[in-house]
Amino acid sequence: MHKPIRALIRIQLKMQYHNVFKKPSVIIGFVFGLLGILFLGLMLGGFVLQVIDLIYTMLEPSGNSDIILGSLFLMNFIVVLLLSLTLIMNGFYFTEDITSFLHFPVHSYQLLIAKSVNPLVYVYLVTAATYFPVSMYYGVLSGAGIVYSIFALLLFFVIPIIPYSLASVIVMFAMQFVNKGKNKDRSKVIGGILGFILLILLNIVLRLQHDPEKVAETIASSAEGGGMLQMATMYYPPAWLMTNQLTTDSLWMRLLYLIIVLVIALVSFWLFYAASQKLYLKGALGLNTGSGKQFNGKGLYRKQTSVVHAYRKKEIQTIFRTPTFFLQCVAGTLIMPALLVVIVFMGDFTSAASLAKSLDGSGLYVAILAVNILTIGLNPVSIVSFSKDGHSWEAHLFLPLKMWQIVLAKLQAAFLINLLPITVMFLVAVFVLQLTIWQAMLWLFLALLVNAAVTIIGMLSDLFYPKLGWSEETELFQNRLASLIAIVLSVGSLGILIALLLVLNMQMFVSLLFTVLYISLLVAALLYTVSRLLRSANRTTLTK
């Protein structure tokens, strides 16, 4: 019974991680990524620990400080649940390789346990990142001993199991119905957009005020007498159980709580098992892509166009028709504007506008520029310029295409696709911030400038570190050195510009001239690099 699971897990891990750590570039990327996460963690972590400190001192006297652990377990539950929804949807249903397993004589649950290995690694990492600092810090504050630490460690392994199983049951249940539509591509897009909406909701839920004392006060003031923990964990009893497991004095009670928690985890695993056996295949079988429509001659006659035009069209069609590319490069880029809308609408609507008004000319100018850099600079569309061709890149080798035609068409395509988020951002800015016509034009102009620079930087990074040997499009958006370089380069080079503008503190018009000059020089330098590269590089270097 366990043999197939082990074989399946081994093949999963091999396909995901084989050779990953053999290339130095990957290791460098990994180290940088880790450093970045550490940096972010320290920045955020300091804030969070400060809040905990305050809450603890405030609630300790009334005996309510265990609310910290309660909220921690609750938070972990929500985060793992939301994260798992997306991971499971992709891992169980939307990867192409799932079809290659369906004909094996293995039970669904065996396959799904194997398919869970990668998501679980991810989920456990995320849990560890939040759980250990907070629970350990709480232990230090409350002067807990070694028993606390051991149980805290034990609970760590249990925490993700419940939300993960729950999420898989939800997904398997929902996918039965999605599969009725019988269109994998479409359900992929729908699933992805749902995921984004959930992320935005999560963002709303988790939006913190940036003043530790205020946060602590809000929580403390709502605490009246004891029983606060029950209140907070009403909707998720295991959080209450786990908290008591860690805070009760009696060892027997601790063991009892632990057993109850373990039973709940087992039950949720059993739910996972039952859902796998009963529901999985109903959702997974026959998720196919064909429209089944007959060609009716529409589009049979088309005007002849230039090579660059034809190629650009092919690029845009590919992006729009590949769910992963569509989600990452089109729908995903609309998230930032959407988040901005959410934040502005949630916050004081009029104050956002008056904030914009209160900024003096150059202040507003820098703000506009910064917002544009952040929203456009993170768009991956140009970073997968070459990589998204994958195996099809081979066609460039026998088609009579010149490299400059390919590069130009790819740049144009990325630039054009970026116009979508730019337009959304622009509309948001104009209507919500109530910009004047001149400010609006300035916004648009700066957005286009930034777009040009960012597009070329992304394309260059991809040219240097292409990844053509993928078997799943999603691989292009995970741990890629090219993305890291592109983001560092664009945010870095444009960040220098912002710093210069802030330091020099010039008149707005002078700032504008300065920006145009700076970005033009940047673009010129980039284009020069591209042209040098095109002259020297043999195209086949990309085939690696």
Binding site: N296, G299, Y301, Q304, K314, Q317, L397, F398, T540
Partner: protein, 240 residues
């Protein structure tokens, strides 16, 4: 006409193609035979510019693929052995893409798409993504693309594998018509019958080395007197 001039190719320390010297003349259907792993696809990939040549040179209608790349690429059309390219495009989009790349006028390409897509019975599927096509349909789409392009040199890597009898018959007919007009057809196969029916000239390759090159009658003659060739034939017919 395709000219291979002492071509070598090595993968790491492994010699995949070793000193192949070959002329594929115009007006002839030229079959490239060899067992699995002989180096057929590797040779074809060098001819089409997909793989760099280690040493030696290749010209197509006198244009060198390594130095006069774009001009050489305009001379031929290529149907790859695993037709899994541009999977996200619709069939019709792919054909227009090819039309634009090779500069085929709107009227010409419309007529050709209609004629050949119908001939190969893929017309009705043209609005579907290539991803949803069967192996044979993909192959026929790429063949249709080549027919839209109408190059003088056709290069096909195992074109018959996966085609149904009718399509395979039609492709053979088209090959004959094409060479009758003085053009070149160069295709690889490891199926002896196809080559015997169709080819005017044959080259046989094994382990990267050219074992035989000549006309069909000459091949039959040699087949009875040369043991190694007979051995190859055995290998070929066995895995057919």
């Amino acid at each position: 006409m395709i000219q291979l001039d002492h071509v070598h190719k090595q993968y790491g320390s492994k010699k995949a193609v070793n000193d192949i010297h070959l002329t594929i003349p115009s007006g002839k259907i030229f079959g490239f035979l060899g067992p699995n792993g002989a180096g057929k696809s590797t040779t074809i990939k060098m001819v089409t510019g997909i793989l760099p040549i280690d040493s030696g040179s290749i010209t197509i209608n006198g244009k060198d693929i390594s130095t006069n790349t774009i001009a050489a690429k305009h001379e031929f059309g290529y149907v790859p052995d695993s037709p899994d390219l541009f999977l996200r495009l619709n069939g019709i989009d792919y054909l227009h893409f090819i039309g634009d790349i090779y500069g085929i006028s709107a009227d010409d390409r419309t007529a050709r798409i209609e004629e050949y897509a119908n001939m190969f019975s893929i017309y009705e599927a043209l609005s579907d993504q290539i991803k949803t096509y069967s192996h044979g349909m993909r192959q026929k789409l790429f063949i249709t693309g080549m027919l839209v392009q109408q190059p003088s040199v056709w290069i096909l890597d195992e074109p018959m594998t996966g085609l149904d009898p009718k399509s395979s018959y039609q492709l053979k007919e088209l090959m004959r018509q094409h060479t009758a007009k003085g053009n070149t057809v160069f295709f690889s196969s490891h199926v002896l019958e196809v080559v015997e029916q169709l080819c005017d000239e044959v080259a046989i390759i094994r382990k990267g080395e050219l074992l035989f090159h000549g006309t069909l009658p000459k091949m039959r003659e040699k087949f009875h007197s040369d043991e190694s060739l007979e051995h190859i034939f055995l290998e070929l017919t066995q895995d057919a």
